[in-house]
């Protein structure tokens, strides 16, 4: 019998700790599929963040490093500079990447580090129980914004791809979502492009993936996907913010 669908080889055969309905599973799968398709598992080093995906080192079959909170881009820089022929990617959440690790994110981007960053934005700190993240939407209720995020006192969310797209070292800055099959397909293409950029030494590639957190949003998985579509995507429009390969085509 022909096998038409199976677990990617780059994903370990273990059950994950992620909550039911969480979209981390989809995103892990997309990264693993790309690693399989490019045949690079043996040459890939992944860097985990602190946050919900802290234990992703148990889920990917490539070599993995667990970084301090927010420091994954610096750890990845060290690994990539030491081993320029290996593929290095980080997998980070919004608190990790856009709050405590902002400096590491911005500077690895502007240096044009030849790495891939998978940035999972679910507008909350999931692991610690749902506090305000740098990407929490105005008015959004979290454990630390119990009356909703008040932009007068708590400021505004950060749009990471838009910000990083201004930097010369960035090869790809693209925002995708995993709320529907067409969007998931788009997300996979973006991740593939990011890894191809690394292969071709084009520099820093970030794929921001709008994701859900049913547990901390207090919604069912289905309702979470609806919220992602109705609340998150309008604030964080999907699309390509920078793609130097597209610029090459225009030239």
């Amino acid at each position: 019998m022909a096998v038409v669908f199976e677990k990617p080889k780059a994903l370990a055969d273990v059950s994950t700790h992620y909550c039911p309905g969480c979209t981390h599973g989809i995103i892990h799968r997309l990264v693993a599929e790309v690693i399989d398709e490019m045949g690079i598992e043996g040459d890939t080093i992944g860097v985990c963040p602190v946050g919900c995906s802290v234990m992703a080192y148990n889920y990917f079959n490539c070599d993995m490093i667990e970084a301090p909170h927010g420091r994954a881009p610096a750890v990845a820089t060290g690994a990539k500079r030491a081993m320029p022929d290996k593929y290095v990617f980080t997998y980070q959440g919004d608190g990790d990447l856009a709050a405590i690790g902002t400096a590491e994110t911005v500077h690895s981007a502007t240096r044009g580090e030849n790495i891939v960053i998978i940035f999972v934005n679910n507008t909350t700190y999931g692991m610690t129980g749902g506090q305000m993240a740098p990407t929490t939407l105005p008015g959004q209720v979290t454990q630390t914004t119990p009356y909703g995020r008040n932009t007068e006192t708590q400021g505004y969310p950060i749009r990471v791809c838009e910000m990083l797209a201004t930097l010369d070292g960035v090869a790809l800055a693209q925002r995708v979502a995993v709320d529907s099959v067409p969007h998931i397909r788009e997300a996979k293409k973006a991740i593939r492009k990011a890894f191809e950029n690394q292969k071709n030494k084009r520099g820093f590639s970030i794929v921001e993936v709008l994701s859900t957190c049913p547990t901390n949003w207090g919604l069912t998985p289905i309702e979470s996907l609806t919220r992602l579509r109705e609340d998150c995507i309008p604030y964080y429009p999907l699309g390509v913010y920078k793609d130097i390969t597209a610029e090459e085509v225009v030239k």
Binding site: N61, C62, M64, E66, T77, A79, R81, M83, E104
Partner: protein, 351 residues
């Protein structure tokens, strides 16, 4: 062998390259900046990586990433910058990664000053970050010794899979002395744990400091402390100078020990039986050498460029068996030989 006149900071950089350091990640801070500048000039030509990071925090995490792949990696800084690195150092220790960290100490706390100091002794030997762990800590007293100790630091860091520190100070970093670079035999340690791509030849490697099961965490910490015991037995070092018959033994390390040696010589000229113990490793602390070197002594005088930090370890080593006095100067105020001589007289050298 070639003999060069070199500044301490530059000698450390050259020694690192010769010891096979492949990656250096720095960030400017006085009084160690010449080290980064030297690396910027030399590292790439030597086939290595020099990168100026966006912060001390980023620099130490770049060291973590590079060390995880199995190459020799190093960073350097001075006191306030080392505080910033402490998070990363704790993770490096918790991940059992080897690396070398240079601290060219300056005065503190806070911004403190930019002059030489030894006020980071406690930080280096007891509290460089959260959690139960140690670093190997070397305390050079000359530019030549900086070179010798750096090579040893890399070798032992690799052997024991732990971070090692060269605890220098602004005086040693800025001072020029004649040096020779010894022929270095590269101590190649196999690193089967390195995350450098499994090539489908082995199971994936994980470099990690997280153990959510308390028993598992306890085991990793206890295993680490078994290694620490081995290091304590084999690798503590100290110089004993005229201690065999000494009534008064001065204990000092680093640049301060050179001043103390002058005071001891002056005391001997004055007919006072003084001696000097110079700890060369601060962790492991040379406890046995302290006991051995003070056998004949009635009194011990500890001299530091701080308000008194190593003095604790001297007291612990002697277990209250004899009086331990202290003389200290803080950041930038280097003790004079005459001051230490006067302390020796005060303690009873005149009796």
């Amino acid at each position: 062998m070639e003999r060069n006149l070199m500044k301490g900071n530059e000698a450390l950089a050259e020694a690192a390259i010769r010891a096979g350091c492949k990656c250096f990640f720095g960030y400017p801070i006085t009084p160690q900046t010449e080290l980064s500048a030297y690396m910027a000039k030399r590292m790439e030509k030597a086939g290595g990586v020099f990168l100026q990071a966006e912060s001390e925090i980023a620099a130490i995490n770049m060291v973590l990433g590079a060390a995880a792949t199995g190459v020799r990696a190093m960073t350097s800084s001075s006191s306030p910058g080392i505080s910033l690195k402490s998070e990363g150092i704790s993770y490096i220790a918790g991940s059992d990664l080897p690396c070398v960290i240079i601290n060219v100490q300056r005065g503190g706390p806070g911004l403190g000053g930019i002059q030489p100091s030894q006020a980071d002794y406690w930080q280096a030997t007891k509290a460089l970050g959260h959690g139960d762990f140690h670093l190997l800590v070397y305390a050079p007293a000359s530019v030549q010794e900086m070179i010798n100790m750096l090579t040893k630091a890399f070798d032992l860091a690799d052997e024991y899979r732990m971070p090692a520190m060269i605890l220098a100070d602004g005086l040693l970093g800025q001072m020029m002395e004649p040096v020779t670079f010894p022929e270095i035999k590269a101590n190649v340690v196999e690193k089967p744990w390195a995350t450098n791509g499994h090539q489908f030849k082995r199971k994936h490697n994980i470099v990690n400091s997280l153990y959510l099961q308390p028993d598992g965490l306890q085991k990793t910490v206890q295993d680490r402390f078994v290694r620490y015991e081995d290091i304590k037995k084999k690798h503590s070092e100290a110089e004993l100078y005229k201690t065999e018959d000494a009534d008064i033994v001065v204990v000092a390390y680093g640049a301060t020990a050179r001043v103390a040696k002058s005071a001891v010589n002056k005391a001997r000229e004055a007919g006072i039986k003084a001696g000097l113990i110079r700890p060369m490793t601060l962790w492991p602390f040379p406890e046995k050498q302290i006991v051995e070197g003070t056998k004949a002594a009635s009194d011990v005088l500890v001299v530091e460029m701080s308000m008194g930090q190593m003095v604790d370890d001297v007291k612990l080593s002697l277990e209250c068996s004899k009086p331990v006095h202290f003389f200290g100067r803080t950041g930038g105020v280097i003790p004079k030989p005459t001051e230490i001589f006067d302390e020796i007289i005060k303690i009873g050298g005149a009796k």
